[in-house]
């Protein structure tokens, strides 16, 4: 009797192991690599009432052989095609008319939205993203003035997959230049659901006339055209309403306190205003406070920045604290100017992306709920901003006196 139970036990365990190993491969939820085509970048366009979705597909064979030869000849690493439809997901499902494989979106790195589509309205894009489990909300989103498809067709020299390269480019820009923010889908949605319902998205542009859409063109030592990060597009209520230039966007980043590392140049000598000293800011903090002034509002921004000197053409003696203090003041004035320009641009466009509305909401919650609707249109243009910038120049770099000063001391000009 016991022997029979033991055998029964053994057979059941073996069967169970067998069943589990079948189930471990995912059964009906399996995804075979040769049944999917990996999308590394997608583009959204709007034309004649239809959405046009473009996909940049990665060709695994072209990438895997790249490491061997090192040459840029052979097949292009990516392939681009488009589908159109009345809705975004409808257009995507039409890809089965042309593709032998299912589109696989989880590796999608960037989305490029054309200006026309952004002006039409992006709420259906955000809804499609939230609702579908295979679209990641960490995708970087970009705008472009012309056609999204052309941006996807453009190869990037030195990089294999253009989609991933552009994603790294904006991360690089946010960490080292901090002029444009790195907007992921999730961050964009959060800001559009925030108090001011406004956000800024960086734009890409193809500079030059001859786009690099084949590997023959990338074989040269220079590129006839490049993909560049240009302006900041302002989105309000899901629609594009305006643009900010680089400098204005930079000022906005200062007010928002999102500068990670950046360089600021300013003139250090009133007699030679064209000579600029350069400071690298490696740490900054911005505190925004909203103050009610009568019927209007004032934003008080306190910026504290720390940096090191990178370039210095003037002749003050940097071993003296006064000269360093003077430099710090000049840097602070330049930063204040940048911030004011950014704020003015934001006021003109009537789009609050500097966190002013957020500050009011945190400090005066009741009043904010009363003025929410009128904020961007009427109250923001009347508001003022007051800046209080404090720059600490931690080090003057590897040398003290400037080269010019050493030349004049050596008996030269």
């Amino acid at each position: 009797m016991r022997l029979r139970r033991e055998w029964c036990h053994k057979i059941c365990c073996t069967l169970l192991l067998g069943v589990l190993s079948i189930a471990a491969t995912g059964c009906s939820g399996r995804t075979e690599l040769n049944e999917i085509s990996i999308v590394s970048a997608s583009g959204i366009d709007w034309k004649d009432g239809k959405w046009i979705i473009s996909y940049q597909l990665v060709l695994p064979q072209a990438i895997s052989s790249h490491g061997m030869g090192g040459g840029a000849h052979g097949a292009a690493p990516v392939n681009v095609f488009s589908t159109s439809g009345d809705s975004i997901r409808g257009a995507i499902s039409k890809s089965s008319y042309e593709m032998s494989r299912r589109l696989y979106f989880p590796q999608n790195q960037i989305i490029v939205v054309s200006e026309r589509a952004a002006k039409h309205g992006l709420t259906s894009l955000f809804d499609a993203y939230l609702r579908n489990p295979d679209s990641r909300e960490t995708v970087n989103i970009f705008l472009t003035k012309e056609s999204a498809r052309e941006v996807l067709e453009h190869l990037i020299p030195l990089e294999e997959i253009p989609g991933a390269a552009i994603a790294r480019m904006i991360v690089n820009e946010e960490n080292n230049g901090s002029t444009l923010p790195n907007m992921s889908m999730y961050r964009t949605m959060l800001e559009l659901l925030g108090p001011t319902k406004t956000t800024g998205i960086p734009a890409l542009e193809i500079s030059g006339d001859d786009p690099l859409d084949s590997t023959r063109k990338t074989a040269k030592t220079y590129s006839s055209s490049k993909i560049k990060l240009t302006k900041l597009g302002l989105i309000q209520d899901g629609k594009l309403i305006g643009w900010l230039t680089h400098d204005q966007s930079y000022g906005v980043m200062w007010i928002r306190g999102e500068i990670r590392q950046s360089t600021v140049w300013f003139s250090c000598d009133v007699k030679h205003p064209a000579e600029k000293a350069v400071i690298k800011i490696h740490h900054m903090k911005a505190k925004r406070k909203a103050i009610k002034t009568g019927d209007g509002w004032k934003l008080q921004v306190r910026i504290a920045a720390r940096g090191t000197l990178l370039e210095y053409p003037c002749e003050a003696d940097l071993s003296q604290p006064q000269s360093v203090a003077a430099l710090e003041r000049q840097a602070a004035d330049k930063i204040a100017l940048l911030a004011q320009n950014g704020f003015k641009a934001v006021q003109e466009q009537k789009a609050d992306i500097v966190g002013f509305g957020d500050a009011i909401r945190l400090q005066y919650p009741r009043q904010w709920s009363a003025i929410t609707k009128r904020w961007n249109e009427r109250l923001l243009p009347e508001a003022t901003m007051e800046t209080d910038v404090d720059v600490v120049l931690e080090r003057t770099g590897m040398s003290t006196d400037s080269f010019r000063k050493m030349q004049s001391k050596a008996g030269g000009s």
Binding site: L130, E137, G194
Partner: protein
Amino acid sequence: MHRIGSYQLFVMIVMFHIGSTPLFQLGSQARQDSWIAVLIGAAGGAFVMAVFVALQRRKPEAGLVELLRLTVGRWPAVFFGLLYAAFFAYQSMRNVRDFGELTSLSLLQNSPKWIIMGIIVLIAWYTVMNGNEAFFRTTQLLFIIVLGSYFLMGMVVLAMGLPDTRMLRPVLEHGPLPVFRAALPDIFSFPFTQGVIFLVFWKYAANRQAVRRTAYWGYATGAVFIILMNALIVSVLGPLSTVSALPYLEVVQLVKVANFVERLDVVVTLLLFTGLYIKLTAFYFGAAIVIRELFSIPYAWGAAFIGVIIYASSFAERNNTVHLWIGFGVSLRVSLVMQVGIPVALLLLALVRIRGTERRRGGSTATEGKAG
């Protein structure tokens, strides 16, 4: 049935209350104050837990069915016992359905739901057949894994700098009223007063004196964890937490450490599976024990019968929207009665009708149970 140790009881209470709670964003009507709503719900639930513990202390060797028999008499006890068995089976069915919906939504979109739900009901049935030692030991093992995983996820999310405390401010933006409205009765009934199931298990405790201590500590730990989880989710997702179907999953999907640690959804889904499994098995087990004590039928038959009922009824709801609508609507009202109303009434009756078997200081220990 084997005896359950105090540590095992503690672990079970913690895991049971945590259960599948990260699956939902509790108190989402209160928006950024949802963690305060959860705090209020937990505080209210603590009082109800005190009621349960008081019931247990009245007669430590009595389970739910005996307590009913002693307080309301034999035939009403059958009626209420059946009611509780049906209620526990219903709660188990809800968790089975949640399991199926979660799997369909996140991991296996193409697998048929009947297979998924069938597998988990089979696993629960096997656990129930092996008795409470198997169940409590399994939970003890899973506790370490679950705790470690939640801790790891929390660390990773914090390391990425995803939480932003500005999302939690301004505190009480629209006043305390929406917070209270969100807390009672919704959060009060799920998950904080579901501990009524423990009235069935406490009679098997090895150390009946320690039940009170373990119950309070377990409840407090579970409540603190849920509140922190809630605050974390809101601080990461902000306004998106109210629309997301699986907010904790959404949070973990945003994790991207060192450019290669991504897509940790599987960890989260496994954590939710574990929590759902523990809850549904606890309710299934409770229902099986109640049936056995009411009708003295062989345990295997009772367990199988309940299992079939749970599996069959998990198809009754048409789609996920109906499932959630019933869950946050009718089911909450019914739960209030079964989890709070009836136990409070039982406690009042028990104070009158059952002479306690233990006195605090000396005194005679006369057992004068008056069966009505």
